[in-house]
C-alpha cells in the first residue's frame, strides 16, 4: 500500500463524513483505489464510521463485487448471463478453468490470471461474451479461448 493511495482513501472517508448510510460507498471507493479490500482497509472504514468490523465484513461478503484477495494482473470475466449461457458460455469458462488450472472466482498461483464468472454485462447481441481487463470479446467459442490466452501469454 502506497502513501498516495492512503491519502486518496483518507480523502474519500472525509468526503463521506456527512452522507447518510456511507459504509458501502466507502468500501466501493476503497476498492477502486486498492483493487481489493484488505483487512486493514476494512478496519479503517469500521473505525471511521463507528461500526463493528463484522458489519463491514458482512457487507464485503454479501456483494459479489467486493474482493478480499488481491486480483491477478489479467482479469478474464466470462459472462454467464442467460443469453450467453444458452449460446455456450458454460463451455468457454470450463475451458479457461481447465487450461489455467484455476476455479472461477480465483487467481492462478503465479498471480497472473483471475478467472471470473460474471452476470449479464449487457451486450447480449454479442453473446457469448467475455472481457479481458475490460476489453470485450464477442461471439467467442471454445476455440477462441486458445487464441485469447495465446495473445496474453505473449504480452
Amino acid at each position: 500500500m502506497t502513501d498516495e493511495k492512503d491519502m486518496q482513501f483518507a480523502a474519500v472517508l472525509e468526503s463521506l463524513k456527512d452522507v447518510p448510510g456511507p459504509v458501502m460507498m466507502a468500501m466501493q471507493k476503497a476498492q477502486d483505489i486498492y483493487g481489493y479490500l484488505p483487512l486493514e482497509v476494512q478496519l479503517k472504514i469500521a473505525d471511521y464510521f463507528g461500526v463493528p468490523l463484522s458489519t463491514v465484513y458482512g457487507i464485503a461478503t454479501f456483494y459479489s463485487q467486493f474482493r478480499l484477495e488481491q486480483p491477478g494482473q489479467i482479469k478474464i470475466a466470462v459472462c454467464l448471463g442467460t443469453a450467453c449461457y444458452v449460446k455456450g458460455s458454460g463451455g468457454v469458462i470450463d475451458k479457461f478453468s481447465r487450461l489455467l488450472s484455476v476455479e472461477p472466482g480465483h487467481t492462478t498461483s503465479d498471480g497472473r490470471f483471475t478467472l471470473e464468472a460474471t452476470r449479464c454485462i449487457g451486450c447480449c447481441g454479442l453473446a457469448p461474451v467475455l472481457t479481458v481487463n475490460g476489453e470485450v470479446y464477442g461471439k467467442v467459442t471454445e476455440d477462441s479461448v486458445d487464441e485469447i490466452l495465446a495473445k496474453y501469454n505473449e504480452a
Binding site: P20, G21, P22, V23, M24, M25, M27, Q28, T55, G58, I59, F62, Y63, S64, Q65, F66, L80, G81, T82, A83, C84, Y85, V86, K87, G91, D94, K95, R98, T118, R119, C120, I121, G122, C123, C124, G125, L126, A127, V129, V136, G138, E142, D143
Partner: protein
C-alpha cells in the same frame, strides 16, 4: 439557472434539428444537411462504435463538413446483433456491422458522393428487391416506441436535445396546471402497472406514498436490473436519462418528496456515467435544486451504486442496500410507501415505469390507455436474447403475440432450428412452450400460463437446449443469489437444486419429480421475499410443459444431448478416415487409433468436452 422562457427558447431552437432526424425529412435552412447517428449503447460500444463515431467527426472535419453534417452518439437502437449500427438521415440509410474504418467509405462515397455504401447497408430487401429503410424492416415494423422514443434519436449527454423533444414540459405542466392528486389520478386512470415484474398499479403506489404521514419522503428508482439477459433499464438510462429524471421529479411533486435516489447497478458504467452527466446538466439549468425551474419546488437526486447482488432488485432489499447495508429484504408490512429509505415513506418504481410518466402527463391517460389489452395498458420493452436472428431491444404494444416477437421481430431461430420455448421473467419467471406461441403477451396471460412478465428479459431456446438444464441454470443462479435470511429460500432452493442435479445425472426416479414439485410449492408459499417466492418457477413451468424431458432424464437420456453425464461421444467407423485430428486435440488423451485406422473413444477417460466432434473434418463423431 434557466428561466421557463429560456428553456422554451432552447426547445424552439433545437426542435427542427431533432425532427429532421427522420426518414425523408425536409431539411430547413440553417440546419445540418445530414445527421449521422451512431449507436452508443453497451452492445455497440463493445464493438468499438465510439472509435467509429470519432472517426466520422475527424473525417468530416478533414473535408470541412463539420457544420453541414452532424454526428451524434445516441442511445441504443435496439438491433444489437447487427451492431455497431449507424443511421444517416434524412436518407434513412441503415448501416449495420460497421467497423471503425468504414467511416471513411461512408463519408467519401455517401456523404460527399451522395451514394449510400451498399455493402454496409442492412441487407433486408422488400418484394421488389429494394433494400428496406430502417422503419420498414421486420425488426422495427411491429414495434411501438413510447418508452424508447428518444433512444437512438437524441444525444443522451446533451440536455438541450432532450428539451427539444418537449423535455421537462411534463413537469412544468404537472406543477403549474395540476394538483398533486390530479397527477396521481391521471397515472391511476392510465392503467400503468409496474414494469419491474409484479405489475402492481403505479397510481396506487403513488397514492399510498402520498397518503403516508410524514413531512420527509423519498422517491426511488430501481435500476438494479439483475435478471441475466435483460437490459431494458440499462438501455433507457443510457439512451434517455433525462426522461427518468423528469419522471422522478413529477413523482416527487405528486407524493410530496424533495429527495430522489437512483439505485443503479455498478456493472452498468455507461448508464452511470450518463446519469451523472444528466444530473449535472439538470442542476446547472436549475432543473434540479432548491427552486426547480423557478417554480418554487425543491427536488434533487443522488445515485447509489449496487455492488452485484440480484436480491437488491427486490424493493426492500434495495432500500437496505441504498442505506449502505447488506441487501437483505425486510418484512412487509410496513410497505416502503409507509416506512422506506431511512425509515421515511418512499415511492419505488422501476426505470421503465418512470419512462412512461412524462408521456402520460403530456398526452393524457386516455392516449396511453388506448394501447394495450384490457388490464395491461401501454407498451412493454423486452430484451430479446438467445437463439434468435435479431437479438436486441424491442418495445411492443401489450397484447402482441409471442409469435410476432419471435418470428417477425426476432427473425426466428438461426440455422433453421426449431423454436422450443421462450423464457420470460428470467430466474423468477417460467418458460412458454411453442404450443402457446400465439398467447398475447400481457401480465395476466403470462401469469395464467405459469410464467410472468418480469422486467422484460425474453430468452429464446431452440431444439438444442435442454429444458432441465435451463431450469438448473436458473436455479443455480437463485441459489447463488439467495441472501440467506429466510430458511425456505436458503435451504429449500438448495435441496431443490440437488434434486435437479440428480435429474441431469440420470439418477432421479419418477417419484423424485413429484417430490420436487411439492418442494417447489413449499418454497413459493413460505419465502420472505419475491426472490424466494418465485425461485421455483423455472422448475415448475418446465415440469409442466416439458415433463417428458424430465422423465427421459430419469430413464438415462437427455433428448437435447446437453447434460454431460447422459451423453457419450462415439466415432462412426464408416465416416472415420483415421486422420488423427481428434486424438491430437483431445485434452485428456481419451482417443486411441493409428493413422488411417478407425479411432475409438475411451468413455472412462472422456470428459465430454466435445472438442473431438467440433474438430472432426468428416463429422464422424457424434453424441
Amino acid at each position: 439557472m434557466k428561466t421557463l422562457q429560456q428553456l422554451q427558447e432552447i426547445r424552439d431552437r433545437l426542435k427542427p434539428m431533432i425532427t429532421e432526424r427522420a426518414e425523408g425529412a425536409k431539411v430547413s435552412a440553417g440546419q445540418p444537411r445530414k445527421s449521422i447517428l451512431v449507436c452508443g449503447g453497451t452492445g455497440c460500444t463493445s464493438g468499438n462504435s465510439k472509435i467509429l463515431h470519432d472517426n466520422f467527426i475527424a473525417l468530416l472535419k478533414e473535408h470541412g463538413l463539420q457544420d453541414e453534417v452532424k454526428v451524434i452518439m445516441t442511445g441504443c437502437f435496439g438491433l444489437c446483433s447487427k451492431g455497431p449500427i449507424a443511421v444517416v438521415y434524412p436518407d434513412g440509410s441503415f448501416y449495420t456491422h460497421l467497423k471503425p474504418d468504414d467511416a471513411k467509405e461512408i463519408v467519401e462515397q455517401h456523404i460527399i458522393g451522395g451514394t449510400p455504401v451498399e455493402r454496409l447497408l442492412h441487407a433486408e430487401k422488400d418484394i421488389h428487391g429494394q433494400l428496406k429503410s430502417i422503419n420498414d424492416t421486420d425488426f422495427y415494423r411491429s414495434q411501438r416506441r413510447v418508452v424508447l422514443r428518444n433512444c437512438g434519436v437524441i444525444d443522451p449527454e446533451n440536455i438541450d436535445e432532450y428539451l427539444a423533444t418537449d423535455g421537462y414540459k411534463a413537469y412544468e405542466k404537472a406543477v403549474t396546471t395540476m394538483t398533486q392528486q390530479q397527477v396521481i389520478d391521471e397515472i391511476k386512470k392510465s392503467g400503468l402497472r409496474g414494469r419491474g415484474g409484479a405489475g402492481f398499479s403505479t397510481g396506487m403506489k403513488w397514492q399510498f406514498t402520498h397518503d403516508a404521514p410524514g413531512t420527509e419522503k423519498y422517491v426511488a428508482c430501481n435500476a438494479d436490473e439483475g435478471d441475466p439477459g435483460a437490459f431494458m433499464d440499462r438501455s433507457l438510462l443510457e439512451g434517455d436519462p433525462h426522461a427518468v429524471i423528469e419522471a422522478m421529479m413529477i413523482a416527487g411533486y405528486a407524493v410530496g418528496a424533495e429527495h430522489g435516489v437512483i439505485y443503479v447497478r455498478a456493472e452498468y458504467p455507461i448508464a452511470v456515467h450518463r446519469l451523472e452527466v444528466a444530473i449535472g446538466q439538470a442542476r446547472e439549468y436549475g432543473i434540479l435544486g432548491d427552486n426547480v425551474m423557478g417554480l418554487g419546488k425543491k427536488f434533487d437526486l443522488e445515485l447509489r451504486l449496487g455492488a452485484g447482488a440480484f436480491v437488491c432488485g427486490e424493493e426492500t432489499a434495495l432500500l437496505n442496500s441504498a442505506e449502505g447495508k447488506r441487501g437483505e429484504p425486510r418484512q412487509r408490512p410496513p410497505f416502503p410507501a409507509v416506512k422506506g429509505l431511512f425509515g421515511k415513506p418512499t415511492l419505488i418504481n422501476n426505470v421503465e415505469t418512470y419512462g412512461n410518466i412524462t408521456q402520460i402527463i403530456l398526452n393524457g391517460a386516455d392516449w396511453f390507455a388506448s394501447v394495450g389489452t384490457e388490464k395491461s395498458k401501454g407498451t412493454k420493452v423486452f430484451a430479446l436474447g438467445g437463439k434468435l436472428e435479431n437479438v436486441g431491444l424491442v418495445e411492443i404494444p401489450m397484447g402482441t403475440t409471442l409469435r410476432t416477437i419471435v418470428e417477425d421481430i426476432g427473425g426466428g431461430c438461426p440455422n433453421g432450428k426449431k423454436f422450443k420455448a421462450a423464457q420470460t421473467g428470467g430466474p423468477s419467471g417460467g418458460c412458454i412452450p411453442s404450443s402457446l406461441i400465439d398467447t398475447p403477451i400481457d401480465y395476466d396471460n403470462l401469469m395464467a400460463i405459469g410464467s410472468m412478465m418480469g422486467s422484460g428479459g425474453l430468452i429464446v431456446m431452440d431444439e438444442d437446449n435442454c429444458m432441465v438444464d435451463i431450469a438448473k441454470f436458473f436455479l443455480e443462479f437463485t441459489v447463488d443469489e439467495s441472501c440467506g435470511k429466510c430458511t425456505p429460500c436458503r435451504i429449500g432452493n438448495k435441496r431443490l437444486l440437488e434434486m435437479l442435479d440428480k435429474v441431469t445425472k440420470g439418477e432421479a426416479t419418477l417419484e423424485d419429480l413429484d417430490k420436487m414439485e411439492e418442494l417447489c410449492y413449499y418454497i413459493k408459499d413460505n419465502s420472505l421475499c419475491g426472490l424466494g417466492q418465485t425461485a421455483p418457477n423455472p422448475v415448475l413451468s418446465t415440469l409442466r410443459y416439458f415433463r417428458d424431458e424430465y422423465e427421459a432424464h430419469c430413464n438415462g437420456k437427455c433428448p437435447a444431448g446437453v447434460c454431460k453425464a447422459l451423453v457419450s461421444y462415439k466415432v462412426d467407423p464408416d465416416k472415420c478416415i483415421g486422420c488423427t485430428i481428434c486424438a491430437r486435440n483431445c485434452p485428456v488423451k481419451a482417443i486411441s487409433g493409428t493413422v488411417k485406422q478407425t479411432h475409438t473413444i475411451d468413455p472412462k477417460k472422456c470428459i465430454k468436452c466435445g472438442v473431438c466432434a467440433s474438430k472432426c473434418p468428416k463429422g464422424a463423431i457424434s453424441k
